[in-house]
Subunit: 321 residues, 2 copies
Amino acid sequence: MSPFDEFEIIRLLTKTIGQPRAPFSKIGDDVSFFPSRPGYLVIKSDMLVGKTDVPRGMKLWQAARKSIVMCASDFAAKGVSPTGVTISLGLPRHLSKKDLLQLARGFRRGKDEYEIEILGGDTNEAGDLVIDCAMVGFSEKIVQRSGASVGDFVVTSGRFGYSASGISIAVKGLRAEADFKRRALASVFMPRARLDFGLGLKDFFSASIDSSDGLALSLYEIAEKSKAGIEIERLPSDESVHDFCVANGMSVEDMVLYGGEEYEIVATIPSKRLREARRRAKELHLDLIVLGKITDDSGKVILKEDSRWRVVERRGWVHFR
Amino acid sequence: MSPFDEFEIIRLLTKTIGQPRAPFSKIGDDVSFFPSRPGYLVIKSDMLVGKTDVPRGMKLWQAARKSIVMCASDFAAKGVSPTGVTISLGLPRHLSKKDLLQLARGFRRGKDEYEIEILGGDTNEAGDLVIDCAMVGFSEKIVQRSGASVGDFVVTSGRFGYSASGISIAVKGLRAEADFKRRALASVFMPRARLDFGLGLKDFFSASIDSSDGLALSLYEIAEKSKAGIEIERLPSDESVHDFCVANGMSVEDMVLYGGEEYEIVATIPSKRLREARRRAKELHLDLIVLGKITDDSGKVILKEDSRWRVVERRGWVHFR
């Protein structure tokens, strides 16, 4: 399977299967949607697999909760409030009743946190833990990846680098200052779907995406789908990530751009609406971090470094490398 | 995990998670649904796992097609036309591009056969093949498991025993007469979702269920959810199944009642509407097989055998035995 990545697989599958007909959304955005009355029914399925999505140290209930976060994060990026979810489970034979109840607790937690209904599901025996959530919701409007225009500001809902740092701490056992360690591990074990940001600010977004595949890929997706380019003036990171990377001989840029699994929202806002968006964000006690701008250099994402521009690599956290 | 079966797991999960609030359907029917405008949005997710759902001899495209059939069969039993599906994939690392295209062909086949849109999905690496379909549709009315009344006739859409026979032929290598072998293997490798039956006759059904967990469990589900009993006058089987079982020293009853994986519809029809239902079935060139009747002996399913009644066992094809 090595010559394929996720995008290649989707492309191959879509090519044979065919794109849905209008008025169905095309395959390739965070969610799929089609007319309900009134507005749209929005649906998204996302599969969590133990081996690849549950890092060492993550508890079963956290894995169950994460499976809901993974779907809810896509809804957040589309500015859509999720309504319900079905959960299909593949369960290893060695799971105990206690383990199962722990999973149930995690689902309950996700249900309460995001105020969604768990509508049903399916259980199966499998070699590894598999949790597939299919989430649905309704909306009058969906913010797509393709709506960015030249001059729009590129923003995010938070700082990047914490998840990748957390993974290094959890999996490789790297050392870190106590406060940073706590925050970095929380972003791995207890990621949040940014529904506060997505629902609160969607009216300002021209395009939007969730960043779980990494910041670089998210930027490329917006650029490519919008037939535009992006220039990044500054990375959305902070001192603590910087210090952790330096102390451990790692590149801040790598952690921030290519780390993945962040669950923040990357969006674009027309320049004349930025001020109003900032005001709204402040009212809602949300960070609104401006990274850069949409350019007419189609498909190119560049980063300013020591007052020189260089091209951001089109890579990130992709299954099947 | 041995002390649990699927029902127990669902019960445990549901207990901790909690049932959805009205107007959402309760967990425990073939599909979940909630008000759309007008009518209902219907959603169902069903997971296929290589080890347990793909018998020896089944090709990858047949497995992919089957994953769609599994969901569509539940829609058929509810009398709901499926609209679209999302597909989450767990793919073993050893799959080749050719294998992947074969999967895509299978999905395409399912899409074309049932005239549904494949709306999107998710791909992951997994140890075993995992395909989770989440299917949605809209409907003004949903036939539930709970609607049967005393005196209603119990009917099915077809003969039972072919799938279990087919499995014995495919997996254990049992011998069979050529025509029977072909039909039995087809029911394993190319099961059909009985949308023809479910959509064509739903107006007559007081209750309905798909029979993929086996005939016995399907009957018990209708009995228990409807707070009624069932008496079966004759098993929905035929000469060929009988001959195959006798030749191989197997019990016909076992194959028909407890075999599972049949994908036929088991429904109930009020007695005063049976005649009209038969006429409609004839017009549509469908079999409508009457097995027995709903009784007031709550929760009991009994079978007439040599003019004596005995209790049908409450068991079938359940994961996690």
